[in-house]
Amino acid sequence: MRVKLAKRWTKRLLQLPETGMGYQRVDLRLAGGREIKNVLAFNAEEVELPDECADIQIEDVQLRTA
C-alpha cells in the first residue's frame, strides 16, 4: 500500500537524483531493524510498502544506486 513519507525523508529524497521520471528506487530501514529493499518512492513523498509494514516507523531511507 501507499504510505506517505515524513517530511524529513521527502527533503532527503529531493536532494537525490531520480531513478526515472517522477520516481526513485530506495532501500528502507524500519523500526525494529527490518530492511526493505528496492521500494518505489513517488514524487519523493509516497512509498509503496507491503501491507504488514505500512504502520511501522521508517528509520532510514537510502537511494538505490544499482
Binding site: L14, E18, G20, M21, G22, L40, F42, N43
Partner: protein, 223 residues
C-alpha cells in the same frame, strides 16, 4: 566528412547496420569529444552537422577520394541503435536534426549541454511535483523528455507506457521546461521496465535547471 581508416572500417563491419548501407555512429575524437554522424558503407563518415548536398552531385567514389582520412581525428566509433524508425529517410533527417539518441538509459549517457531554445516536457501523476521548486526550477537529477518525443504520449497512460513509469496512475500532468542554453543534460532511451515497453526519449538534468525555466502543469487526458 572523413574516409575511415582500415581499423575503424573493421570496427564498423563488426557492428550492425542502422539501415541498408549505413550506420548511425558516435565518433570519439582524439580530444575526447563525441560527435554523431552517419557512416556510409563502413568507409565514409559524415557528421550530422555537415551538409549532404554533395551526394547529389558527386559519386560515392569521388567523395571517398576527396575525403580526409580519419586516422588523426577519430579514436573510436560506436554504432547507435535507433529505435525511432526503420526508414532511412527518417533516420537521416533525424540525425541531421540531432534527434538521434543513444539506445542506452540517460543515466549511462555522456553529459552534454542543451542548445538554445530546446524545450522539454515532464510527465507525472502529481499536480504538485516536488522536484519543481516554487521559483520554477528543476532539482538536480530530475528526468524529463524532449518536446518532440512528448508528442508521442498524448495521454497520461501513454506516458506511463512510453517512459516505463512504475506508477500506474496516468501521468497526465505535463510541465514544460525551457532550460537556459548550456544546461547540463544526459540524453537516453527508456528501457522496457515495470511491465511497460518504454522506448521514449529520456533526459536527465544533471544539475537541475535555472529559476523560471519550468511552467505548468498542463493537464492531458488520462487515456
Amino acid at each position: 566528412m572523413l574516409k575511415l581508416n582500415l581499423t575503424l572500417q573493421c570496427l564498423l563491419l563488426n557492428q550492425h547496420e542502422s539501415g541498408m548501407g549505413y550506420q548511425i555512429v558516435e565518433a570519439t575524437t582524439f580530444d575526447n569529444k563525441i560527435k554523431r554522424g552517419i557512416a556510409y558503407n563502413a568507409e565514409l563518415l559524415l557528421f550530422e552537422e555537415e551538409p549532404r548536398r554533395m551526394f547529389r552531385t558527386a559519386t560515392f567514389a569521388q567523395l571517398l577520394n576527396e575525403a580526409k582520412i580519419s586516422t588523426e581525428e577519430i579514436r573510436s566509433l560506436q554504432v547507435v541503435t535507433n529505435t525511432a524508425s526503420a526508414s532511412p529517410a527518417f533516420v537521416l533527417r533525424e540525425a541531421a536534426s540531432s534527434y538521434v539518441r543513444k539506445a542506452m538509459p540517460a543515466k549511462d549517457a555522456p553529459i552534454e549541454k542543451t542548445k538554445e531554445k530546446e524545450v522539454f516536457k515532464r510527465f507525472t501523476a502529481y499536480e504538485k511535483d516536488n522536484r519543481i521548486t516554487s521559483d520554477g526550477k528543476l532539482l538536480p537529477g530530475t528526468y524529463a523528455t524532449t518536446e518532440e518525443d512528448a508528442k508521442k504520449a498524448p495521454t497520461g497512460k501513454a506516458a506511463v507506457a512510453r517512459y516505463a513509469l512504475p506508477n500506474p496512475k496516468p501521468a497526465s500532468n505535463v510541465w514544460t521546461i525551457k532550460p537556459w542554453k548550456d544546461t547540463l543534460i544526459q540524453y537516453g532511451i527508456v528501457e522496457p521496465a515495470n511491465d511497460q515497453p518504454g522506448g521514449g526519449v529520456e533526459v536527465i538534468f544533471t544539475k537541475g535547471t535555472n529559476p523560471g525555466t519550468v511552467t505548468g502543469p498542463e493537464k492531458i487526458p488520462d487515456e
